[in-house]
Symmetry: C2
Subunit: 372 residues, 2 copies
């Protein structure tokens, strides 16, 4: 059945790229870096979806800093479908704009929203889950969210509370979307067993998403519709600049999915598809280290992950090192993140690696724009 | 008086340069690096002695790996006085050769032996001490050793046990030279109050040193005399290669000073001149850090010493960082040594920095001669 469905991947590739400093900079954020493997995160994202449709049907919503690099990296995506937001407005306007653009072409098309900076280890399982989800999204007004089985009481993610299985058994009704919990609640969620991490990957028809935006964001929807109507005309850039800044700055989770879930388990049309593949949103150098160690891509005998021109560890373990052109010697050090770039070097304790954003803030404050 | 004395600095600049890897390599050992300040260690050593005599009277005993770089750095020293040992034979043959060479020119000349890789913070005091020492060395058969007042129970240095003050009160009779002690003995030495660190800086007339070598190294002395006799002739290199390898591989302390001290406090003619200047032999990255922090050359408010193109420390302290062309961010890390070079990067715990030599050994064993 899924073969006849018109599937349109929508890749969200905004982001300012501070968490992977000094590799990530404003013009080369996480999405365009090859953090894991030979190809960049966004190249892997697009490649991974190839078996489900044509690369030429892909849309990318990004920003002006990254658009050029993304166009270079994604030669198969038509240039017009790489859309640069004139200002950052979070995911609701981005998803909404994609919905209105694709709705004009085919309201029945199933639009898959994918972050461009997550890693997924088991592609066959990923594709199997997506095929199910696309079928579900294509029937009626259904909204499908890919949920990740939680492995720790993570406080950095939103959670999905699930209810009954659907009759065909492939998805779960959604009871509630929750914001990032505190540790106590996260531990409850983990213990309860029916909570999933919100992966940020959604499936819905263009019409369903467009109507959801009209319903839940009544002030923003008309701006987005004006922009979509101007697409392909000489006025597009001007209209985009004028109306996009007027849109609400809000996530699609908070704007659409949470209020929709309030309609109740059986009338919201919200489904969670539990994913059975290894997934990581690479939120920091520490999570890249953990992911690469788990998937045994680069760990040595002392659990050092080193992307270097050779390395030597003497009484040194559990370090992440990136310095591809150099030989790196680690002596007596543990739990570090070391990232070398042409003009900057980061040495951080692994459990402080989420503070890397503070470095970028300080650099911004002190006028070192050459480094950000 | 010292003005009329013919003073000849002899700079010992052998060494294989493993402890300051990755900055130091075989062809750019510690001596030729600017570890502390703008000029290299050997340039500072020669410069420091300028007020006591002519740079052109300086001799340098080095090896074939370093000779070229040293000649480049010491333009004022005649090329013929930069002598490359064909093989390493420790300090006794090096000092002995200098003595025989200078004795042929002027047996009364006072020869000052100086390691080329120590830092000295207070030059006026250093010069004052040397002037006294040169006078003492010029009278009779005296041997003068500069002693450093110990500040900790260091087990890496030899100690000098001193006895009575000389009548004029400027020096102490030497009772005994001791090898590197264990910690318990080092603590006893520190508590006793009459022990000094052996600085490796010696003063004696060419005749006194030459005769001491003849007396204490009767098999080695004739080889060295042959080499000295060939100096300036076309056969010099061949003679040097042939006879130097036959010399005993032994330190001047062990070969000459220890047996001499056995003659007793009043007949050994051995004197210790307590030095009152800040001194450091820069034995490791950790000691460079400590020296620079003490002398307040580069410490920031968190006791980070950073030779970088800017640095930022967030909850990070007591680190030594060398990466002169890069901005370095330290996040949550303490007590590290970070040294960046073109082709290699070292990250070490500060108290493991003496293990850096092991890195060089491993690199040698694994055939990475490009890195050593």
């Amino acid at each position: 059945m899924s073969k006849r469905i018109d599937f349109r991947p929508v890749i969200l590739a905004g982001g300012s790229g501070t968490r992977f400093w000094p590799r990530s900079r404003r013009a080369r954020a996480k999405q365009v870096l090859a953090l894991d493997g030979e190809r960049s995160m966004i190249q892997q994202t697009v490649e991974r979806l190839k078996p489900l449709g044509k690369v030429g049907d892909t849309w990318v919503i990004t920003n002006e800093f990254l658009a050029h690099e993304i166009a270079e990296q994604l030669k198969g995506v038509p240039a017009g479908q790489i859309v640069s937001e004139p200002c950052a407005r979070n995911t609701a306007p981005a998803c909404g704009l994609a919905a209105f653009l694709i709705e004009r072409d085919n309201p029945e098309a199933v639009l898959g929203v994918f972050p461009s900076d997550h890693v997924i280890a088991d592609e066959p399982r990923f594709l199997k889950a997506l095929q199910k989800g696309i079928s579900t999204a294509a029937s009626g007004e259904n909204i499908v969210v890919l949920g990740i089985e939680p492995t720790r009481p993570e406080t950095g993610y939103g959670y999905i509370e699930t209810g009954e299985l659907t009759p065909e058994g492939s998805a779960l009704h959604v009871r509630r979307f929750t914001e990032k919990p505190n540790l106590m609640r996260a531990e409850e969620f983990l213990a309860a067993g029916n909570y999933y991490w919100n992966s940020g990957m959604f499936l819905w028809s263009a019409r369903t998403l467009a109507n959801a935006v009209r319903e839940h964001l009544p002030e923003t929807a008309p701006h987005l519709e004006k922009i979509a109507a101007a697409f392909g005309t000489p006025e597009f850039n001007q209209v985009f600049h004028e109306y996009y800044s007027k849109c609400e700055n809000i996530s699609v989770d908070y704007a659409v999915l949470e209020p929709r879930s309030a309609k109740g388990e059986h009338s919201s049309n919200l489904y969670c598809l539990p994913a059975e593949f290894a997934w990581n949103d690479l939120g920091s150098w520490a999570s890249l280290y953990e992911y690469q160690l788990e998937t045994r891509l680069r760990g040595d005998g002392d659990s050092n992950v080193a992307e270097t021109e050779g390395h030597l560890a003497l009484d040194a373990g559990n370090n992440y090192v990136y310095s591809p052109k150099k030989f790196v010697a680690l002596v007596g050090v543990h739990d570090l993140v070391v990232v070398d770039s042409e003009d900057a070097l980061l040495i951080a304790k692994r459990d402080s690696s989420q503070d890397v954003g503070k470095v970028v803030k300080e650099l911004t404050a002190s006028g070192r724009t050459d480094l950000i």
